[in-house]
Amino acid sequence: MRNVWNFSTAGKIIFGNDAVQGLGKLMQSLSEKTALVVTDPGIKAAGILETALSSLKQEGVSYAVYDQCEPEPRVEKAVEAYDFAKNQNCGAIIGLGGGSSIDLAKAVAVLLTYGGSPKDYFGEFKVPGPVLPLVAIPTTSGTGTEVTPAAVLTDLQANLKIGISDNYIRPMIALVDPMLTVKMPPAVTASTGIDALTHAIEAYTAIGFEYLLAEGEALYQGTNDLTDALAEKAIKLVSDNLRLAVDQGQNVKARYNMALGSVLAGMAFSNAGVGAAHAIAYPVGAATHAPHGVLCGLLLPHVMEYNVPVALDRFVKVAELMGENVRGLNQFEAAMLSVKAVKRLIRDVKITATLRGLGVNEAQLPDMAEKTLEVGRLLRNNPRRLTAADIEGILRNAY
């Protein structure tokens, strides 16, 4: 039994509409050297990069821009960005974009601080110490990476996602400006929003920290009262606002609440951990290259259904937070309403609901189940034990 939990988040979270306009002043206070901006062509095309740069210009902050990030970036991209940045006298790093750009910025921050190659830092607790000041500016509402200790890259040769996980790479500052998400297309809003919901629900229904099967320090530690309070609020915010954000992209209030829900979910899951939906999403993602949020959303209700029996009271609360009427029902029926509510939300925001719909071949399922077992650091947070056969069952239900 574990007695201690530990809670970390970004050093500082700055949240609000038009917050990005304070970027110049912020960078000035962090370093006199060049600020490296890591972003992608989409952000540039949407004019978001220009908004950020104009604030830097206004304050006379010198900067260099690497704008060649790609979705689910390959390890090579981290090397490329590092090669671009290493002779630029960079004193701070700005990750501007979705999860991919921010994760790449985290990897580059490690490389600029300690040199070497990305693989030197793959795994947990491999970063030797603090990294250069890192500012994360998300342009989607979902990944929560602006407050988390993880940077995920893709290893194409091995066809798997691989990551750097260490509290040292939690951004020094998370600058969250909901106005940057207003032009996000509906499909991206939906998939990233469902990612946030998955973070919140998996963090809320993770194993209690007392019973995590782990020795010594762990990043993902199971639930505690602080992560519970954050996750509950996140579930409610996402559940109440995702449909509006998808179908009325210009609805600033819905965008605000989604951005908030995403950050709170990030604060919760980056301490409590996520569970089987995320673990299973890894091998399925390697096979399909579907967006992370789509995979999580597709798997979430089936994983919840599997987990319900061991966490009835928590799933009842999820149902309530999602607006279900649980009065007069027995606990099991009430808990199952949470599964129903999630399925309905996924349908309403038009997320692909089956693995078949993603082009997965039924014959691949046993292999995916086997590969899921390799993501032990996530599975140990799941409240219910899983064998390969159990995972295959979940995959079949999702097929």
Partner: protein
């Protein structure tokens, strides 16, 4: 939909969590550490629990244990002198609010030129302070996770405060087992302090959507556990939940701030030399009653968090249930709810109100505009209770 900022230092929570303090200090680059604490902590036998893990991690340290309750400038100057002469660049503050606050002040004096009075007020500290780890041994102040450091200035009879993120700890340790030996009256005074932090943060002008859920959780935990912790102190579960509620309250205090109760408390604390917790509680219930009309919905939510049955009640009645519940909580923990208990002289009320009225930082964070006359009225109500 206004903007907000949210900050909190790394928190290590749980029974036995201080065993990890050596490794953490090492990670944060400590080699020579000055431990700042008080005699009470020493006599409670807490110090070895800090020293052993430091020794195991190969960290050199010395101990300064002369911090006074509600410390003044003398002990601060002494600590800074010892640190500078002894080449200490890392501090561990162990204790209640007094020890932790003076540690924060000392750490800022190490890296900022000037007198402590130069740094009073909001965001007046130019450079990050020397690194600090804070270990809470009471469940109340939340100082381990806040940017505030308070001290009494005897010369001007004022409580003054430094408020700057540059003095926040690098890591906070909250170990409920360290609070077991706290006497009942200290448990009560510090515990209600935490409760008041959570309540004031929940209604604060500067509250934000991230602080709200944490504040309600703190209110729920403290409401359910304060009386058991006071009256049956060996009950570890109550101690645990109080420690948790207290640190959550500290997190929201740090990000949403306190309000009128604290503004009214400081002049009373300076004049009558009562502890911070007591000076708060003697003003708490009457302040909350006075400002209730502007805050019915928030009060109703807090009533529910305190376990009151509000289903079927009007919002007004739910808010009244909150007022009844807080009075019951204070009385149940053997705490006074008015000024009579500390013998406040009615003739001093106008002067106290004038002093309280100058605290624009706290009054500006109160969701009810209070004039000096209003404050006099609250003190007068509290005098008769």
């Amino acid at each position: 939909m206004k903007s907000f900022v949210f900050r909190t230092p790394e928190l290590n929570f749980g029974n036995g969590s201080v065993k990890g303090i050596g490794i953490k200090a090492k990670q944060l680059g400590a080699s020579r550490v000055l431990i700042v604490t008080d005699k009470g902590v020493v006599s409670a036998g807490i110090l070895p629990k800090i020293e052993q893990p430091l020794k195991d991690a190969g960290i050199e340290f010395e101990v300064y244990s002369e911090v006074q309750p509600e410390p003044n400038l003398d002990s601060l100057h002494e600590i800074v002198k010892i640190a500078k002469e002894g080449d200490f660049s890392f501090f561990i503050g162990v204790g209640g609010g007094s020890a932790m606050d003076v540690t924060k002040l000392a750490s800022l004096m190490m890296t900022n030129e000037g007198e402590v009075s130069d740094f009073l007020g909001v965001e007046k500290v130019p450079n990050p302070a020397a690194p600090v780890i804070l270990v809470a041994t009471t469940s109340g102040t939340g100082s381990e996770v806040t940017k505030f450091a308070l001290f009494g200035d005897d010369a001007i009879k004022r409580k003054t405060a430094v408020s700057s993120p540059n003095i926040m700890a690098r890591a906070a340790f909250v170990d409920p087992e360290l609070t077991i030996s706290m006497p009942g009256h200290v448990t009560a005074a510090t515990g209600i302090d935490a409760f008041i932090h959570a309540v004031e943060a929940y209604i604060a002008v500067n509250r934000n959507p991230a602080t709200d859920p944490i504040a309600l959780e703190a209110i729920r935990l403290i409401a359910a556990n304060l009386i058991p912790a006071v009256k049956n102190g060996s009950k570890l579960e109550a101690r645990y939940n109080m420690a948790l509620g207290s640190v959550l309250a500290g997190i929201v205090l740090n990000n949403a701030g306190a309000g009128a109760v604290h503004a009214l408390a400081y002049p009373v604390a300076m004049e009558y030399h009562v502890s911070h917790g007591i000076s708060n509680v003697v003003n708490f219930v009457h302040t909350m009653e006075y400002i209730a009309p502007a805050l019915l919905e928030r009060y109703a939510n807090m009533a529910e968090a305190m376990g009151e049955k509000v289903g079927g009640l009007s919002q007004y009645d739910s808010a009244m249930a909150f007022l009844k519940a807080i009075r019951r909580l204070c009385l149940g923990a053997s705490l006074p709810v008015g000024l009579k208990s500390i013998g406040v002289d009615p003739k001093l009320v106008p002067a106290l109100a004038e002093t309280a009225f100058t605290d624009t930082r706290l009054l500006g964070n109160t969701p009810y505009v209070l004039t000096a006359k209003d404050i006099q009225a609250i003190y007068s109500n509290a005098l008769n209770d």
